[in-house]
Symmetry: C2
Subunit: 426 residues, 2 copies
């Protein structure tokens, strides 16, 4: 039943049959939200022990300081040691922050606007600021750019990372290009892991702007869904080898390890970058929530234990991801080349490409029948997918049963939109 092989009348029949299926689904009155990469309640339950680890009344850092009180701007020492390997830096190359890595990214950019980076002109004094945006990508990265009036340039993604030829050429020529967004491991939404060569080329990037920074959002660094996970290289290590260590800010968090609302975020960078960031930070706050940092360190003990803990996540997540990709394989693959999708080895999303011009329609059809997806276009700067084809599927929150129901509907919507698309040219 390859839709491309169908005659007009066969297609019409297929369309009508699918529309009937859609309408009976609609009458079920589903109400499901698959719009965001949220952990499920069961996954959050895995970290409940963390809330009790301070019950013994020991709230002191290993340096003897009281975590309940002011102080330790850049984090408690054991938290620095604990989180440094997560983002591939040394313990003096990290600041342990509050509950939101997005907020740390926002702050580094806002501070670049008001104060510049390492003595360069504040971005607010520049005529134009541009960022490179590998696409599809994370909508909240793009929203930050839009908020600051940063012009975004789409960069195509390949199976080993963004198009490095294009990136190297652009940053070498244009001083107004000040940054690039990267989710190097299990990229959002495609689940792509940057190859060693990609990381090395990023680390060695020669940029016209001295204040260009790679915003290396390593959100899914320990979020594996497979037996032999791919580890990406430490970009800071690679950058040091070529004397280019100021090129990158590295971000990470436990928002998708412990609690999305009450995790710990970190930023890693060269000593020179960290020193400058700490100066600004010290004006903006006295300290972050160190009790929550202590909770994390006490709950896991070691970084290796946290990695081990993530296997319990995998037990909950893998069946969900499999439900999505198995159903797509079973029910859409036979329809011919009307869609393609990723089978990620980690991360939080399945990236789905419909036929050009169908994504918005599919999302609307799903929404009208009670399943909310990430808005079509959201994975592109300005919310504009030039081909109107990419949809981000977030399988982490619903139960596998709900997910199967939602995917059944999703597949019907894809079929319906595809048939109508094909009918346009018949």
């Amino acid at each position: 039943m390859d839709l491309f092989q169908m005659s007009k009348s066969e297609l019409l029949e297929f369309r009508n049959k699918t529309e009937n299926e859609y309408n009976s689904f609609k009458s079920l009155g589903l109400k499901l939200d698959m719009s965001r990469g949220k952990p499920s309640p069961e996954q959050l339950d895995l970290s409940m022990g963390m809330l009790n680890v301070l019950n013994d009344g020991n709230y002191k850092s290993e340096n003897g300081l009281d975590c309940r009180n002011y102080g330790m701007l850049d984090g408690i020492p054991e938290a620095k040691k604990f989180f440094a390997p997560m983002i591939g830096v040394n313990e003096n190359e990290i600041i342990v922050c509050g509950n939101s890595s997005l907020n740390v990214m926002f702050w580094t950019i806002q501070t670049a606007f008001t104060h510049g980076i390492l003595g360069e002109k504040p971005w607010c004094k520049c005529d134009k600021i541009k960022f490179l945006c590998p696409t599809p990508g994370y909508d909240r990265h793009f929203a930050i750019c839009e908020f600051f009036g940063i012009e975004m340039i789409n960069i195509p993604m390949h199976s080993d990372g963004p198009d490095m030829d294009m990136i190297e050429k652009l940053v070498a020529e244009d001083e107004s290009i000040k940054g690039i967004w990267c989710v190097p491991q299990y990229s959002n939404p495609q689940g792509i892991c940057y190859s060693d060569e990609t990381v090395k080329r990023f680390a060695a990037l020669k940029t016209k702007a001295k204040d260009f920074r790679i915003f290396w959002d390593n959100a899914y660094c320990i979020h594996h869904l497979c037996d032999e996970p791919k580890y990406i290289l430490s970009i800071l290590d690679e950058a040091k080898k070529v004397n280019n260590e100021n090129i990158v800010y590295i971000f990470g968090s436990t928002s998708k390890v412990t609690f999305s609302g009450a995790g710990v975020a970190v930023i890693g960078a060269s000593l020179e970058n960290i020193k400058s960031l700490k100066t600004a930070l010290g004006i903006s706050t006295i300290s972050f929530d160190k009790l929550n940092q202590l909770r994390h360190v006490r709950f896991f003990g070691t970084f290796d234990n946290m990695v081990e803990h993530m296997k319990k996540h995998r037990e909950l997540l893998a069946p969900r991801f499999n439900a999505v990709t198995d159903m797509l394989e079973e029910k859409l693959a036979p329809c011919g080349k009307i869609a393609e999708w990723t089978k990620p080895q980690g991360g939080y999303f399945v990236s789905f490409n419909a036929m050009n011009g169908c994504a918005k329609k599919i999302v609307k059809l799903c929404s009208d029948a009670g399943v909310k997806l990430t808005g079509a276009g959201a994975t592109f700067p300005y919310g504009k997918d030039p081909d109107d084809k990419n949809i981000r599927i977030a399988p982490t929150y619903p139960s596998t049963e709900e997910l199967k129901k939602a995917m059944e509907l999703f597949i019907i919507c894809v079929k319906l939109a595809s048939a109508e698309k094909l009918l346009e040219t018949k």
Copy 2:
């Protein structure tokens, strides 16, 4: 033994005797830090129960949402209700934030620089930005201004608040004046409470700049040290009466109620201000730590209970404050007009004025003998006390015994510096 009545030889003798006392003190090798308004360990102990209130596994907000997960950008509804009366606003006029009100203040100013306030020109596009600074005041407020290159204008403080005549005149004339720092209740460091008239005049302020804001840092709003505490008026209520409700941002926190490192901060403002702040906030983060918000609400139950809880603080703090002021009274008052000091009814500090030109010397003498005070000048913009006379005494952290020891030294240092000052003109 009024120093002003002494002959030169009497003064010399006094100086030498006092210097001997100082030297024997120095040999004790004290090591005390009275530089910041930090709570004592015993005070932090009063809130230890808060760390266990989620042990029952109920982590849901009253609206049914899971506080462990993403969402509820502006705080959980019960936290809004709980904190609104603390800063004198309605529950739809508040955003419940993270652990640092200083950070919220910083962010509102940084966002005014990058994006402007309610459609006005971003401050980074203005030639000059000025703030009014009632002095003495809080050094971290002034540090934010200095960081952003905001020109600070000193405003004298009176017993009922800042000099309103001067403020009204300046803001009416100068469009580049965009803000004023206020600690309206138990001001830092003098412990002054703004009178009803002062609050009303602030609320009715007519400013040339449309984007002028009062930064109303109500840090000590429930931090009473007396039986019949003075309550200041709600500035937002007063501003509404004169259709001027956009004039103020109100800040508060539990940093000095529960844990300094792990409290909850809030910002209150008019609906129009709140809406605009939330738009910017939603770009910069997904949500704050709602489990910690829930801890606070569950631990106290009601705002009234939190006010009641502060009486336990008073039991710990009042003896400390009394130790300071009693010793000053007993040992310095007989020396004549070489110093004056406040007897605060709340807040965190005793403000001490030495003879002109003596503050730096006194702080240095104390430091050399092992007692660290807030740097002289810190209570003024740019760290410059024009009279070099104000010293902020922070009695909250040390034990009463330590405090008495430290004050003994402090008093010796004041005597020594005063005698030397008087000898200069003999």
